[in-house]
């Protein structure tokens, strides 16, 4: 999945003292480089139970167009979704390998 990386702000643009003046700003924080493994969901096996969506500690699993898909901008590759997946539809692949 291709992710749009937000432009990093310069020191003149950051609010004084690093104050975060708007809530929900963690959505701007790209953690994809933290990841060693990435989850891949086999949509044929997926029963749409939503356990991965519930268990993901980073709310990185999104439900769109009737499908669960990880948002790779926020997925840290922890693998909790794989453990939670009852039908074993999620496989963790090492990053850099096909």
């Amino acid at each position: 999945m291709k992710c749009a990386r937000p432009k990093l702000k310069g020191w003149k643009e950051i609010p004084e003292g690093g104050t975060i003046v708007e809530p929900g700003s963690s959505i701007q924080f790209d953690v994809s480089a933290w990841r060693v493994s990435r989850p891949v969901i086999d949509q044929a096996k997926c029963t749409k139970c939503g356990l991965c969506w519930i268990y993901c500690p980073d709310s990185a699993i999104e439900f769109k167009d009737g499908k669960y898909e990880p948002n790779m901008l926020y997925c840290k590759g922890c693998g909790i979704c794989q453990k939670a997946c009852a039908p074993k539809a999620i496989i963790m692949f090492k990053e850099g390998k096909k």
């Binding site: 020191w11 950051i14 004084e16 690093g18 104050t19 975060i20 809530p23 924080f29």
Partner: protein, 389 residues
């Protein structure tokens, strides 16, 4: 301009200034020789003379933390400490400056342990010179009072914490005649803290957040830029204060420097003795002057460069040491500010550690050694004045 002249110690002068500033929050922990400042303030609060929240904390670390929190709500904040207390605040000092929380702290300069010593030197403040705080230095109890009032003006306008330094016992406990400014004039001068971002149930924001490698650098630079920009405000405040209250202050206070060939650089209370001896030197045919650093952070580099251009030798008095360093703190700063622009010989001195007196004879020797350095065209390694072998 109506004033009242009263006999007061440096500490009581500061407490009086804080009362006139009508602070909202005081959080402090007692430590010699600062204690009588906050003791007097607690008395003012208990008597109803000062309407402030006085937070009794269990340590200086908590005192500074409480001050940061209070300042974030938009309150006018004051604390005071010395030596070990300042060292215990160390990590929070960096937060106060980087989070841009204005407050005023009186630091009554005292030696750092070991050995345990309650007397004066400058090692406490020097150890915090990289903390991002503005540092102002008093040479008399009158300075301490005036600088405290101005510190609120400067800090709150620049949203930076300000440390007012005064020498332990020499200034803090010695009674001097003080001209007290009119309280109403002071209220007009610093009415209340200007409104800035403040925490309240209505305006929630996150402060003190993580700054990952992508952001830490930019956030840190904000603090660097803030203290750099405060230079012009400090000058304006000194000038404005002189206009209203009649006493003028400069980033660098010079004495007999116009036609001087050599000068001694001092900080704090020792300035008075240095001036007396400089006059004696002049009578003996040595054109000597005294330069004292009033605003130590931001460092008055331009002013020093200007003064140095007319001199043939500069002696630098450090009342602190940098063990294992290239030199001692004030010497290092001055050498670095002159580097590349001035080749005037510098002679370093260390004196007055842990409350040791710096006598007039010591100053005579320091002027003579500075004169020698000017004639030889170079200074020698730092001279530890009065050290027994």
């Amino acid at each position: 301009m109506s004033t009242t002249r009263r006999s007061m110690s440096g500490n009581y002068a500061i407490a009086y200034a804080v009362k006139m500033a009508d602070v909202d929050v005081i959080a402090a922990y007692p430590i010699t020789p600062q204690t009588t400042i906050v003791e007097k303030l607690s008395e003012y609060v208990a008597n109803g003379e000062l309407d402030a929240d006085y937070i009794n904390v269990e340590s200086e670390h908590s005192a500074m933390s409480a001050c940061v929190g209070a300042s974030l709500t938009g309150a006018r904040v004051f604390t005071a400490t010395s030596s070990q207390g300042l060292a215990f605040m160390h990590e929070v000092l960096f937060m106060a400056s980087a989070l841009r929380t204005p407050m005023v702290m009186a630091n009554v300069n005292r030696a750092l342990s070991a050995p345990l010593n309650i007397w004066n030197d400058h090692s406490d403040a020097m150890a915090e010179r990289d903390s991002g705080w503005i540092q102002l230095w008093a040479s008399s109890a009158q300075d301490a009072l005036d600088l405290t009032i101005m510190a609120f003006k400067i800090g709150e306008s620049e949203r930076l914490p300000v440390m007012v330094n005064l020498d332990g016992f020499i200034l803090s406990h010695t009674y001097e005649p003080i001209d007290l400014p009119n309280a109403e004039e002071v209220r007009k001068y610093i009415p209340s803290r200007p409104l800035t971002n403040r925490l309240s149930p209505k305006t929630a924001f996150s402060i003190g957040v993580v700054g990952p490698p992508e952001y830490y650098y930019e956030m840190k630079y904000q603090a660097v830029d803030a203290i750099e920009k405060s230079r012009s405000k400090i000058k304006d405040v000194y000038a404005e204060y002189e206009k209203i209250f009649g006493r003028g202050y400069r980033d660098v206070e010079s004495y007999g420097i116009e036609d001087a060939e050599i000068a001694l650089v001092t900080m704090g209370a020792m300035t008075g003795s240095a001036r007396i001896v400089s006059e004696e030197m002049r009578a003996a045919g040595v054109k000597a002057g005294v330069i004292s650093i009033r605003t130590f952070r931001p460092f008055p580099s331009e002013e020093l460069l200007d003064l140095a251009s007319g001199l043939k030798g500069i002696g630098i008095m450090d009342r602190a040491t940098t063990p294992g360093g290239p030199s001692n703190p004030l010497f290092t700063d001055i050498a670095s500010c002159l580097y590349g622009s001035s080749r005037v010989p510098l002679q370093g001195f260390v004196a007055g550690l842990g409350g040791r007196d710096i006598t007039l004879d010591d100053f005579r020797m320091m002027f003579r050694e500075t004169d020698r350095a000017s004639k030889e065209g170079r200074g020698r390694s730092p001279i530890y004045v009065g050290l027994r072998e």
